[in-house]
């Protein structure tokens, strides 16, 4: 859940994602983070994208991004 909230602002590398979640919801370990990331990826809620730094960045999957954009349009 907090991963989805953290990724609303845009793609994040795993370490940055960890930092964001710790800011949002307190301490979380790397084991728990990757377990959650693997589940969200499998369910198609997030996806990894190539990053210039070599390591992938995670972002919300296409349907969620579309929904987010339309929600932002509505709020304008």
């Amino acid at each position: 859940m907090w991963i989805l909230v953290a990724l609303r602002s845009g793609p994040l590398r795993a370490t940055r994602l960890l930092d964001e979640i710790r800011e949002l919801n307190g301490w979380v370990g790397p084991g728990a983070l990757f377990a959650a990331v693997a589940r969200l990826e499998r369910h198609g809620l997030i996806e990894s994208a190539a990053n210039s730094g070599g390591l992938p960045a995670y972002r919300l999957s296409q349907p969620w991004r579309t929904a987010q954009l339309s929600q932002e349009d509505h709020s304008r």
Partner: protein, 248 residues
């Protein structure tokens, strides 16, 4: 610290190794983090489907065999008391109960690993039983005896019901099993029972009537569970993002 990653399955490491190592270099972990990583590794082994592997298949056979063994030990134990050594109290009944508890919990945990509440409830029931029963022995009042008996009946009936559910036995037969192995025998036996032990007057026939059917019922349920043996796939339900968005 990155040696910890060897705990993870190979497929998992292939997918996440680089990011994980980078994360550990940037955010070193302490003892809590180490425990967390070990937990994550166990989770990865339990759920290979998360990284494209085939999900683990679970079977009722092992719990079924344990339940059958529990029923047989229970029956053998009480028959032995009656037929051979009425003065002997051994550990057979405790072994049988431990097997029953393990069979039920094991089968539920295999299929519903996330339903920890059920496990906790079963353990609390066991603790309550363990706590209340000695009271019924220590105290001399009828209330204590009634409390102990009620706890034992609830616990025994609950365990048998859960095992029967896992064995795929329908509601009607389940109730027959409970009534035939617990409610009726205990109701019949209590007025006959002259004491608590097999050496007390009337104790032996009352014990046979009251307790043996429970062992037989467990044997039946255990065999049914073993023969059912259906391999059930434990996998998380797939979430369709499009329908989730539409619903939102």
């Amino acid at each position: 610290m990155s040696r910890l990653l060897r705990l993870y399955p190979a497929a998992w490491r292939e997918r996440y190794d680089a990011e994980f190592i980078a994360m550990l270099q940037e955010r070193p972990v302490g003892v809590t983090g180490t425990v967390d990583i070990a937990g994550g590794a166990i989770d990865a082994h339990l759920h290979p489907e998360l990284i494209g592997g085939a999900p683990h298949l679970w079977t009722h056979r092992l719990p079924g065999l344990m339940a059958t063994a529990a029923g047989l030990i229970w029956s053998w134990y009480y028959l032995r008391i009656v037929l051979a050594a009425p003065e002997e109290w051994g550990y057979g009944v405790f072994i049988a109960m431990l097997l029953m508890l393990t069979a039920v919990l094991g089968d539920y945990l295999a299929a519903y690993a996330r339903r920890i509440g059920l496990t906790v409830a079963a353990l609390i029931a066991a603790a309550v039983l363990a706590g209340v029963q000695p009271l019924s022995v220590i105290g001399d009042g009828m209330l204590n005896f009634a409390l102990g008996a009620a706890a034992a009946l609830l616990f025994s009936g609950g365990m048998l019901t859960l095992a029967a559910l896992r064995a795929g036995i329908g509601a009607g037969v389940r109730w027959l099993l409970i009534a035939g192995s617990l409610l009726v025998p205990v109701t019949v036996a209590i007025p006959v029972m002259g004491g608590f032990g097999p050496t007390d007057p009337g104790g032996v026939p009352a014990m046979v009537v009251a307790i043996l059917p429970y062992g037989i019922a467990w044997t039946i349920v255990g065999l049914r569970m073993t023969l059912r043996g259906s391999r059930t796939i434990h996998d998380a339900p797939t979430i369709d993002p499009a329908s989730e968005v539409a619903a939102a």
